[in-house]
Symmetry: C2
């Protein structure tokens, strides 16, 4: 069989239900889809225009970042070691008001895309208050897959405008548009009601910050006599197409509502630790089989967009929070960053694993490094040892967008020079 691309490597992790590890395996790609996954001599049945032999490497699905603010890369490290409310209202919102415009979104967004490609992310679920139509162009150029949401707190970026944008991108192979009301503490009731209606009528996904801090929950209870989850449920906004970012301060009734309504969650371990938001009830969510993916949050609260750090942070923080080292195994963390992330975005039939007929989003991790030797278990190394800089090749939708760490779709030097020029304080 003649294919377009074959990727070979020592360990192929398809992220199928069995969490198989295929030794000396390969993945074959025809156009933008996976047409074969196999091992050893089976490869003789396939020819390809391009063969990437990753050698001593892990070959796996591209990582899925379920909660980002990609345009914020230029605010990386702007303010640290502060409580969320101080950080957000006194540092981030003012900086955004001062600097964010079309040019900012294009340049800072390009830096995020570059960083994501170089650390193995192939799909991200984004929310921002401005300019996602410009980011969409950058994402397409980068060759990444993304769902871009507008947070509906900016004049002009109304529900109607988002619905319009979503129609424009309906047939786009890489970019989709979502409704992304910021939160119950930023969006007024009438906006949330409009979101509910539009989401149902237009079949759009909803992306919203929920119960990130204790303060958010307490304020909501005081104002409305309900938790944010109860309030959103009253508004009818909790549905299978809804993804709740953070979901830290959930009580058992909130969790039951998530389960009953089919809500998905994006867990952001590093951001939740850095802002001291707290430890989400991940073990309970997993027990209830609520789909949970991983998110980096924006570069201002993390401060990277490296999902390897998120997998490690997730496994570590919950062992600490529960004082139980068996909580969040390496396998569980890798699932969250791949197939479970796909479920969270409602895309598990398209991406998140290496299976025939799925879209070809594939990365390879170079194991020929001191911190990755020796190797007893690939999953363990992905979570407890590897970092984004170990990613060597990235394929999205069948297209090789990074080869041997050279990004093919973006001009790395130009993006870094532009970031240097954006010089707030120096």
């Amino acid at each position: 069989m003649l294919c377009d691309l074959i990727i070979k490597g020592k360990y192929v992790l398809p992220m199928d239900d069995e969490l198989s590890i295929i030794k000396d395996g390969f993945v074959a790609v025809s156009e933008n889809k996976i047409c074969a996954v196999g091992a050893g001599d089976e490869i003789k049945n396939y020819q390809a225009k391009e063969i990437i032999d990753a050698g001593k490497a892990i070959v796996m699905p591209g990582l899925i970042n379920c909660h980002t603010h990609a345009a914020m890369a230029y605010f990386r490290g702007l303010a640290d070691d502060l409580p969320l409310n101080d950080w957000l209202f006194n540092h981030i919102f003012p900086a955004e008001a001062k600097f964010v415009n079309e040019e900012f979104v294009r340049k800072s967004g390009a830096l995020s895309c570059l960083e994501m490609i170089k650390s193995g992310t192939t799909c991200f679920n984004d929310m921002y208050f401005f300019g996602q139509e410009f980011l969409a162009e950058i994402v397409e150029k980068a060759g990444l897959r993304a769902v871009l949401g507008l947070d509906l707190k900016t004049p002009g970026y109304t529900v109607e405008r988002v619905v319009e944008l979503a129609k424009q991108f309906k047939d786009n192979e890489l970019v989709k548009i979502a409704l992304a009301p910021h939160s119950v503490y930023v969006c007024p009731r009438d906006v949330l009601e409009k979101v509910k209606q539009a989401a149902g009528a237009e079949n759009l996904r909803v992306h919203i910050h929920v119960s990130e801090t204790k303060k958010e929950v307490e304020d909501c209870k005081q104002a409305r006599g309900k938790t944010p989850v109860e309030y959103l449920d009253e508004l009818g906004l909790l549905a299978p197409a809804t993804m709740a970012a953070h979901s830290v301060w959930l009580d058992d009734n909130d969790l039951k509502i998530y389960k009953d309504r089919g809500v998905k969650a994006a867990h952001c371990p590093i951001s939740n630790m850095k802002l001291a938001s707290g430890a989400a009830p991940l073990a309970k969510m997993l027990e209830l089989e609520i789909p949970v993916g991983l998110g980096t949050d924006g570069a201002a609260s993390n401060n990277t967009q490296d999902l390897f750090m998120e997998m490690r942070g997730c496994a570590l923080m919950h062992k600490l929070a529960s004082l139980n080292p068996a909580v969040v195994s390496a396998r569980q963390a890798v699932k969250m960053a791949t197939i479970d992330g796909a479920k969270v975005l409602g895309r598990e039939k398209e991406i998140g694993s290496l299976e025939i007929g799925k879209e070809a989003d594939i990365i390879t991790i170079n194991l020929n490094k001191p911190h990755l030797a020796p190797l007893y278990d690939s999953y363990s190394h992905l979570v407890y040892c590897a970092g984004g800089s170990d990613v060597e090749n990235v394929v999205v939708n069948g297209r090789v967008i990074m080869k041997n760490r050279q990004v093919k779709t973006l001009d790395e030097n130009k993006i870094l020079r532009e970031a240097e020029r954006f010089n707030l304080q120096h």
Copy 2:
């Protein structure tokens, strides 16, 4: 002035008391010592045989790893997601009994040295049950600085033998030998008493695991009616030359004893999270001005030896544990990995900062990367963004042991091939 080596870079962080940031700075080295630290045109006063212009980089003291088991690199990822006692007694101790011999220590130790160099560690404080005299040869070859301790649980490796070894290495520029009784739960009372005597008589440093787990403390209380700290104090083992690794489960009285006796601590954030040992009372230790450095622990419980992960893990875990995002600032974390680590080893007059007359242990971090752009504060990026793979050049004792990520002292390919050959399960 003619020097041997000059290192230039955009931001020099000398880690002096003021935590200065010198823009467009340089460090000059004469023989094995720092002879100048300056900025801008001052460099015209110096010529050097070798000039490393690190460009857009941070230049800082080499990182100090206060608690390692370097020979364990070959057990990286052998067993994860298990409680400390199960992990230690059912997996690690049996693997050690089966595999560890002179050849193992040399090869696995070389892998650790390679990993440490490639992630910016220039000095480490090690403990192991066997073969530190072989590791010493590897450390010297690698050009690293180390304090090697024997844990006194192996026949033949007695206190007397350690004292003998320490004499052999007395004038060694890079390697020192310490007494490193494993813990109160492994070493019998008579061994600990001998350690106390020898440490005083021979002026040796003592390195011991203390109160790592709740179980250790409870067992000790049950057996002796005292906490491990109280018991060690009764034995007279707590003194300014004593470094207590982990120090997780300390009560206020234990902390007072540390303070009164001048004890130092090695905090191991990633290991303590991964094994769910708990969060050490770091804020209290810092408040009491007990010197605390960072340690990776061995590669079987971490699973890397990358101190950048430790700085980040430290800042994040304590924000989570205290729900206070101001706890452990980026600056505090960098201090712990450098000058405070030197204090913990009693070497703050020799290493840990870039100051005239100190030994030249210097690293550079390449900032020309997507995840490190833009930059508002160097300390923030070191803790919240950088990783060991961003380290570009490493100097120890005035000798360039890594240049542009090429390790000059060890054969990287050979070490990786040997690690591959050590094939326990595959």
